[in-house]
């Protein structure tokens, strides 16, 4: 649980992890995103909420989709956005990471959107930034990716009525997945009836059930009767270090095909945080099929990120007014 992502009055000051956030706050994020998604369909896709604010996208790890949607979200809120792709080898020491941050603070930034390869990096940065700067975690190591989880919840809410009635299965590499950890926390907080994770033991973390999920090693059993199927990306490097024998065997056992999808409820939706590996974790016919909402997820990412950015910067200025 992050100790410092909420203000004294319980507003979002940073957005680092889903863990520890209460259900009404998650609902507020989704409601806010719902308002913003209207803007996206207008001719002029901009609101002046963050005019005059400067947002730095600090990507210590490569990303196209996430960085782009954060950038679009910031621009639609009328903020100034600066993208920095920082080579991690140049900042492998904490000291220079802090030096980088302090230099950017000196340029009067208001928000850092951070992606980093190490778990806990966003938390570390939030602990060390100046009090007027908000930090949004755009993915830290294997730990958390809270905006991705929220856009997934938003997508589920658009398609399904009531979270407690749902059965959700997450399939694949949970061990290395920050997305899965954040999704599981969000689904639990929203009261989802049953969360299942499906995968071979080598890519499930120790004591997986302590995350509040049911563990399945058999895809057919795990998909039986679920409302939502979330497929995770399988990194090719997992074949090294003897985690898995081959992409082919993985696809045979854990890839989502039309046939396997039939085991889920007929109206089940299929999600994927992207980028997808066709023929590794998911068949093209499923990814492009009628039950897939994968592209919708991308679209919703903009509204969710607008919501989170406006909420954190709003809480930030409130806090400063109180203190002033």
């Amino acid at each position: 649980m992050s100790s410092n992502q909420l203000t004294d009055s319980g507003q979002l000051r940073h957005f680092l992890t889903i863990e520890g956030l209460k259900q009404p706050l998650l609902t507020e994020i989704m409601d806010r995103a719902e308002q913003f998604s209207g803007i996206t369909n207008r001719q002029v896709k901009k609101v002046p909420l963050l005019r005059g604010k400067t947002i730095f996208n600090l990507f210590f790890e490569n990303s196209t989709r996430t960085r782009t949607t954060f950038e679009l979200a910031a621009k639609r809120l009328s903020a100034d956005v600066i993208n920095l792709n920082i080579n991690t080898s140049a900042t492998s020491k904490g000291e220079s990471l802090l030096d980088t941050l302090h230099n950017l603070e000196a340029m009067h930034s208001d928000m850092f959107v951070v992606r980093h390869s190490q778990s806990g990096a966003a938390e570390f940065i939030a602990q060390h930034v100046a009090p007027h700067v908000s930090v949004i975690n755009a993915g830290d190591g294997c730990h958390a990716h809270p905006t991705q989880a929220m856009l997934d919840m938003f997508t589920i809410r658009r398609h399904k009525q009531h979270f407690p009635d749902l059965r959700v299965a997450i399939v694949g590499d949970i061990l290395h997945s920050r997305v899965a950890r954040s999704q599981i926390q969000a689904l639990s907080t929203l009261g989802v009836g049953e969360i299942r994770v499906i995968g071979p033991k080598t890519i499930l973390p120790a004591d997986t059930q302590t995350l509040g999920v049911h563990v399945y090693h058999d895809m057919a059993a795990g998909l039986e009767g679920v409302d939502v199927v979330i497929m995770l990306r399988l990194q090719h490097e997992r074949m090294q270090g003897a985690l898995l024998p081959s992409a082919r065997e993985y696809y045979d056992c854990f890839g989502l095909t039309d046939e396997k999808l039939k085991l889920a409820k007929p109206d089940a939706i299929v999600m994927h945080p992207g980028p997808i590996n066709r023929g590794v974790e998911i068949a093209s016919t499923v990814a492009d099929g009628p039950q897939s909402v994968i592209l919708e997820q991308v679209t919703h990412g903009i509204a969710i990120r607008m919501a989170v950015m406006s909420m954190t910067l709003g809480a930030q200025s409130e806090q400063q007014e109180v203190q002033a």
């Binding site: 649980m1 100790s3 863990e19 904490g94 000291e95 802090l98 980093h116 190490q118 570390f124 120790a206």
Partner: protein, 424 residues
Amino acid sequence: MKLRITNGRVIDPASQLDGQHDILISGGNIVAITEHHDDFTADQTIDASGLIVCPGLVDLSVRLREPGQEHTATIDSETRAAVAGGITSLAIPPDTDPVIDTPAVIELIEDRAKKAGRAMVHTIGALTQDLKGEFLAEMAALKAAGSVGMSNSLSPIKNSIIQRRAMEYAATLDLTVFINAFDPWLQDKGCVHEGTVSTRLGLQGIPETAETIAVSRDLLLIEQTGVRAHFHNISTARAVKMIQDAQSRGLAVTADVSAHHLHLCEHDLGNYDSQSHVLPPLRSIRDREQLQQGLRDGILTAVSSNHQPLDADAKLGPFSETTAGISGLETLLPLTMKLVDDDEISLNQAIACLTHQPADILGIEAGRLTIGGQADICIFNPNAQNECQPNNFISAGKNSPFAGWLFNSEVSHTLFAGNIVFEK
């Protein structure tokens, strides 16, 4: 100089002494432990009313950072910290730079320690040259130069035939082999205990088997080679059990536990607190309980600081990028005494684990109050009520997860060879 320590409660587990006595010191040695009525005229008297007087503490694993990392800490700075913690004898592992695999390095360290003149610094020599696990170090030469034992420190010997031969050769020379037991492949780049916390925080875990597989292999080799061996810094319940079994089979095996593993567990990592980043990692609550039990049962016979001073930058970064280690010299006594306050172990056990028991593991004279023996003495207040403030440590390393902890025990005086080397 003639010195009298009066009115203190003198506890020396080695001689089963516990009572109100005066200790008389002359010429650097203890000349008598008596009732108050004697005709000894002291130049100086220490009034130890309400205080406990015990042998100077003995610490099995201390990194002084010299030679090699003098920018972090030095023999001078760390022996100063040692005596502030009541420690007068300490053993340093061979992973200095250069490695302790030649007599010259031992001479350098002993020379610097002698100049500092506060505590006895014992060296543990390298088992293999440059700790590479390929060629045996010249153990006879290292022994002759003063090494109290041999170790490959934090570079476990992967090749079992080399490990076996190193043990055989050490046994030939009647040397104790000190082992930090972990399987390097299972440990890999892990930085926390593999369990609920590693799963929640998304950090690479180190499974229990990283320790137990290494202990298991080494116990079998110890049995085969007949070497006398000591396991440093045991962290798992299962390893305690394995060592107990080995001891009951009659193997010459001892083990210690670090003070922090007796108090902290994986949950103390909180929100990526890098001060709790240590190797072996803080393990489960059950492991911690069994380590305390192992101490009570006399399977683990020493508590060590596993002192690793670090500069501030080493702890500043995302968790897995920070350096593992805790600055432990100044919390060794209060943490061990806290177990007495918590009724986990007896006062006698606590002091034994810090004095003659570790001294016996090192095969040195220290850790006891002997008439005619060197006057290495620790005097401490067991009812001090102190808040731990790492920034006020004398050690150059302020890296400690115990900031804000309330300690009851505080060292008031430390004597080394009859000289007062620390006074509160």
